[in-house]
């Protein structure tokens, strides 16, 4: 734990979080709809998704949010606490897409006994198109 605390104190504004790659599958989308009790056909019925003008079933908006959440929680480790998360969806994603989640520290605040990191988040697909973006605030012990 001691070595991790030293590591976190070295992070500064403009530092990048290690990126996270997600490759959504149809099984994943099915499981996600099941556990969130989401009956929206656009996430499991390809013929319906095509009627709506999409090439395939769509990744759920909260699943995009979960990917960006994991980007932060993987980086902060067990010592960290996520304080807030804002997410907006810009473009749909489908199974087979390769989604890269990236984060950059935009603000670092040093409190008496903790560090607060404000992180800009983005998720892009294999064509470098933005699928989701947002911001997170992560607290780490000092």
């Amino acid at each position: 734990m001691g070595s991790k605390l030293v590591e976190y104190s070295k992070f500064n504004v403009d530092d990048n979080l290690p990126s996270l790659i997600k490759k959504p599958t149809k099984i994943q989308l099915f499981r996600y709809s099941a556990i969130t009790w989401n009956t929206h056909r656009i996430h499991f019925d390809k013929s319906y998704a095509k009627e709506e003008g999409y090439p395939d079933v769509l990744v759920q908006s909260h699943l995009h949010g979960a990917f960006l959440t994991q980007l932060c929680t993987d980086w902060m480790g067990a010592d960290g606490v996520m304080k807030s998360l804002n997410v907006s969806i810009r473009k749909y994603a489908v199974p087979g897409d390769v989604l890269t989640c990236k984060g950059k520290i935009k603000t670092r605040k040093e409190m008496e006994d903790k560090l607060l990191f404000y992180i800009d988040l983005i998720e892009v697909n294999q064509n470098n198109e933005c699928c989701a973006f947002g911001e997170a605030i992560v607290e780490l012990p000092k």
């Binding site: 099941a34 009956t39 019925d45 319906y48 909260h62 990917f67 994991q70 807030s84 998360l85 997410v87």
Partner: protein
């Protein structure tokens, strides 16, 4: 009045509406299944001993779990679902607005306390704002919901400000 203006007027009539829903317990199986579904491998979500070593009372839920549950209840009979599979309750639109598409427009979440397996959840929901904007393809009606999730002791777990848009 155009259909979207009627939707905006309907949204305005909902302003200030408050509901309280008892959502039941978030148990360890739900947490583990959710974590697996999103592709998480963090031991805090699966391994009770590890979670306790790190100061938690048991396994905890990934932060985004509470706002991601679409329906906390049993759900509606299939005959009461629309063609898209959703019920009219979902985006607060009733059947008179056929042809209007409603969708999520983003969320802002604050996390106040970790959700430990076994926590009983109550959600306090309020319609806090509505407005209309001109989009590239016409007018869009917005509705903002504030959902506050509390535990069995009344302590706040998560506050979620959700934007719903209709066009």
């Amino acid at each position: 009045m155009t259909k979207i203006e009627k939707v905006a007027s309907y949204f305005k009539s909902l302003l200030g509406t408050k509901t309280v829903s008892s959502l039941g317990a978030v148990d360890s199986l739900m947490i583990k299944r959710y974590a697996l579904a999103v592709g998480e491998t963090n031991k805090l979500y699966y391994d009770c001993a590890y979670a306790k070593e790190n100061g938690y009372a048991g396994i905890i839920a990934p932060p985004n779990l509470l706002p991601s549950i679409m329906d906390w209840g049993v759900g509606k009979d299939e005959v009461d679902l629309n063609k898209d599979g959703l019920s009219n309750d979902f985006f607060l639109l009733n059947k008179t607005f056929n042809g209007i598409r409603a969708m999520g427009g983003g969320e802002e979440k604050e996390f106040h306390k970790p959700v430990v397996a076994g926590t009983e959840i109550t959600m306090h929901s309020e319609v806090v704002d509505t407005y209309m904007k001109e989009g590239t393809n016409g007018k869009i009606a917005f509705l903002i919901l504030r959902n506050e999730y509390v535990d069995q002791h009344g302590e706040v777990l998560c506050i979620c400000r959700r934007t719903i848009l209709a066009r």
